[in-house]
């Protein structure tokens, strides 16, 4: 029973005293101290990877884990939960900056500050599964890919609106979605205050064990209408690949030729009054050129594609790794359809298709211009 109830008062009658601070009431702040002691399975994998990267003896654990002292059943039952004196948390606040050997080696001061600013806005898990700990643990690995492996060059990122809902629409390619990861990182590193685009992924990805957890913890969201609408409603930046799976399974003869677009992103942009920023990602179609797509085999295995590349399946799973191509990411002028059309226009399929084609042409023009 709350103190108000004991005193015969109810909320809203104006007589309610201010509640004591959380630390005083509970002995410690549950939302800092306790969450710092929780270990997400994803964190455990990433910590293990970190240890592998640097040798176990050299690595400070990425996040000290608070293990509650063991108590016997009798002590647990006998003690009536005395309120302890406020005390400093046993563990430091997690995820303020990426830690571990790889982070120390590759992540620069500026990137650290960007990440810290972003993490400061995340508390525990958000409603789509983005985890403060997951993001800070995964960041060094993707940053290493961004800087050292794909050597991403970014251009015209001043065209990304710094606030409000936006839809970033990009071309898709390269078998494994490293283009999505690089695009997310590029936006994060080149916006101030840093924005984390929430990439919309296929429902199929949500059914994959381990992958679905990883995607959610680093901020990617399965593409349902409710999710899309809510993200834009919250003022988030949403990254979409309107080609969908067709983009990543197109053969080498089609590279950098945009496939037919899905149109849902235009509907949501109109409804939620969000500009659409076209993005061209150059390099993704060269990272794993598909020679053939054995569609009957893909259907048999229930996979979106069964590709033959110069390295896959000849080198086994290693053949799926992308080649170390250089990425270039170019942003186009935002397309503000919502300023020309009412939200009801989202119900007009002909108009929505025409607007989607306009976005497609804008991205294709960016690709053609910067590939030369």
């Amino acid at each position: 029973m709350s103190g108000d109830e004991r005193n015969g008062r109810t909320e809203g009658n104006g007589a309610k005293p201010q509640p004591p601070p959380i630390e005083v009431a509970l002995g410690s702040n549950p939302f800092v101290d306790a969450l710092a002691g929780e270990v997400d399975p994803l964190d455990a994998w990433l910590v293990a990877l970190d240890r592998l990267a640097a040798g176990a003896e050299n690595v400070v654990p990425a996040r000290p884990v608070a293990t509650p002292p063991r108590t016997t059943a009798t002590t647990r039952a006998a003690k009536p939960l005395p309120i302890a004196e406020p005390q400093a948390p046993e563990t430091e606040v997690e995820g303020v900056e990426p830690q571990g050997a790889l982070a120390r080696l590759v992540v620069g001061e500026e990137a650290n500050q960007k990440l810290a600013a972003l993490l400061g806005r995340i508390d525990g898990w958000d409603r789509f599964g983005l985890s403060r700990a997951g993001l800070s643990q995964a960041f060094p690995y993707f940053y290493a890919l961004y800087k050292l492996y794909f050597r991403v060059q970014s251009q015209d990122h001043d065209k990304i609106p710094t606030e409000g809902p936006i839809v970033l629409a990009a071309n898709h390619g390269g078998l494994l979605p490293f283009d999505g990861a690089m695009a997310v990182l590029d936006v994060l590193l080149n916006t101030d205050p840093p924005r984390l685009p929430r990439a919309i992924v296929e429902r199929w990805a949500g059914t994959l064990p381990f992958v679905n957890v990883f995607y959610a913890r680093v901020g990617q969201v399965v593409g349902t209408h409710e999710n899309f609408s809510r993200l834009l409603g919250d003022g988030e930046a949403v990254l979409v690949f309107p080609e969908g799976v067709e983009g990543i399974r197109k053969p080498i003869t089609q590279r950098y030729r945009l496939q037919r677009f899905h149109v849902g992103f235009v509907e949501h942009a109109l409804r939620e009054r969000a500009p659409i920023v076209p993005m061209a990602i150059l390099g993704s179609d060269d990272q794993a050129p598909i020679l053939f797509d054995v569609k009957p085999l893909a259907r048999l295995l229930g996979l979106p594609t069964a590709p033959i590349t110069p390295t896959f399946p000849w080198f086994g799973p290693l053949g799926l790794l992308p080649y170390p191509v250089r990425y270039r990411i170019v942003y186009g002028e935002p397309l503000r359809f919502h300023e020309r059309f009412d939200p009801e226009a989202a119900h007009d399929p002909g108009l929505v298709r025409a607007l989607a084609n306009q976005v497609r042409r804008a991205i294709q023009a960016l690709i053609d211009e910067h590939r030369r």
Partner: protein, 336 residues
């Protein structure tokens, strides 16, 4: 002034709702129903010559007992005009078997609704339903609104089936001119001390649970105190329909299991499917959902904007774990 009937008031959530209503000046009388003996917490509320709280033992799954109650002199004297339907929950959520294999929860919902509709004095019914009635799409978390699709798969485990049947029963009466029906779909309810209700996998006694390896769905949670506040706000509102009610927090299943002393052991999915079919074959139909329910793979968070607009509900309590004086982490709900 309202006179309110609360079902399952002997169970934790019912007790919490009775307490909140007892402190509500707009509620004049409370008729608390329960299967067990009167909770000791109610003793303080029953003082005086005409106590505001009356407690009655009843088996809500039996037609005769419910019928007798709704036609009793006591109901007329108390002038009950509102009903809060709290579903069966807690240590034995399935309840005793009822004729024709109808789950107790469904039978209770049907009987309470039927008699509330027939009663001349009852004007509103606020029912607590489960958010696990939604069809969960692939993905670690999905934002669900009241318009999201329900899981009407006939092969669902009986426990899930009973939630959906109850939900549909209340849905069918939204257009009733006699009775204002308001259904609150709530996610997993957590209460201080590590208690958890309405989660099909974690509800019940503390102990080990299983989940498919590689999946760790997000669970939307709400404090039992916020549920009680939502019920009180819904009683005051002159509206009908279904509303999502949830707290601010979403927590991965593995973490929620640890917080509530029900750790979830990751087991390969095919093994769980085998265990599920084996259990079903040997008559453990009720346990089937514990091994292969969609909620073990795919998570949800609830869009609660409709409830906020309709009757002003916003969560006031944050759910987290706190280390108490004895050093053990326990779930706590803290007022924001």
């Amino acid at each position: 002034m309202k006179s309110v009937l609360v079902t399952h008031a002997d169970l934790p959530l019912g007790r919490r709702i009775v307490k909140v209503l007892w402190h509500d000046p707009s509620v004049s009388r409370i008729l608390a129903l329960g299967e067990g003996a009167i909770p000791r917490a109610f003793n303080a509320y029953r003082s005086g010559v005409t106590p505001r709280l009356v407690y009655e033992r009843i088996d809500l799954a039996r037609q005769r007992s419910v019928s007798d109650l709704f036609r009793s002199k006591r109901m007329r004297v108390l002038g009950v005009d509102s009903v809060v339907y709290v579903p069966r929950h807690g240590a034995a959520p399935e309840g005793p078997p009822v004729v024709a294999k109808i789950p107790a929860r469904t039978a209770e919902a049907r009987l309470v609704l039927h008699h509330a509709l027939e009663s001349r004095s009852i004007r509103s019914l606020v029912a607590i339903g489960s958010a696990f009635v939604y069809k969960l799409a692939p993905g670690n978390a999905n934002q669900l609104t009241e318009r999201s699709e329900l899981d009407l798969d006939p092969e669902l485990a009986p426990e899930m089936r009973s939630w959906i049947d109850s939900d549909m029963l209340f849905n069918a009466e939204f257009a009733s001119a006699r009775l204002r029906v308001l259904l609150l779909r709530v996610p997993t309810i957590v209460a201080s001390g590590g208690f958890i209700y309405l989660h099909p996998g974690l509800e019940g006694a503390a102990g080990m649970r299983v989940r498919p390896a590689g999946f760790d769905p997000l669970c939307s949670v709400i404090s039992d105190k916020d549920v009680a506040r939502a019920v009180r706000a819904a009683l005051q509102a002159d509206i009908t329909g279904v509303f999502n009610v949830a707290g601010r927090e979403v927590v991965p299943l593995s973490v929620l299991g640890r917080w509530t002393r029900r750790p979830c052991l990751p087991v390969p999915g095919p093994l769980l499917a085998l265990a599920s079919s084996t259990v079903a074959r040997f008559g453990g139909e009720r346990l089937r959902g514990r091994f292969d329910g969609a909620y073990l793979r795919y998570g949800m968070s609830l869009d609660t904007r409709r409830a906020a607009e309709a009757f002003g509900f916003t969560p006031r309590y944050r759910v987290g774990v706190a280390r108490a004086g004895d050093g053990v982490l326990r779930v706590e709900a803290v007022a924001i």
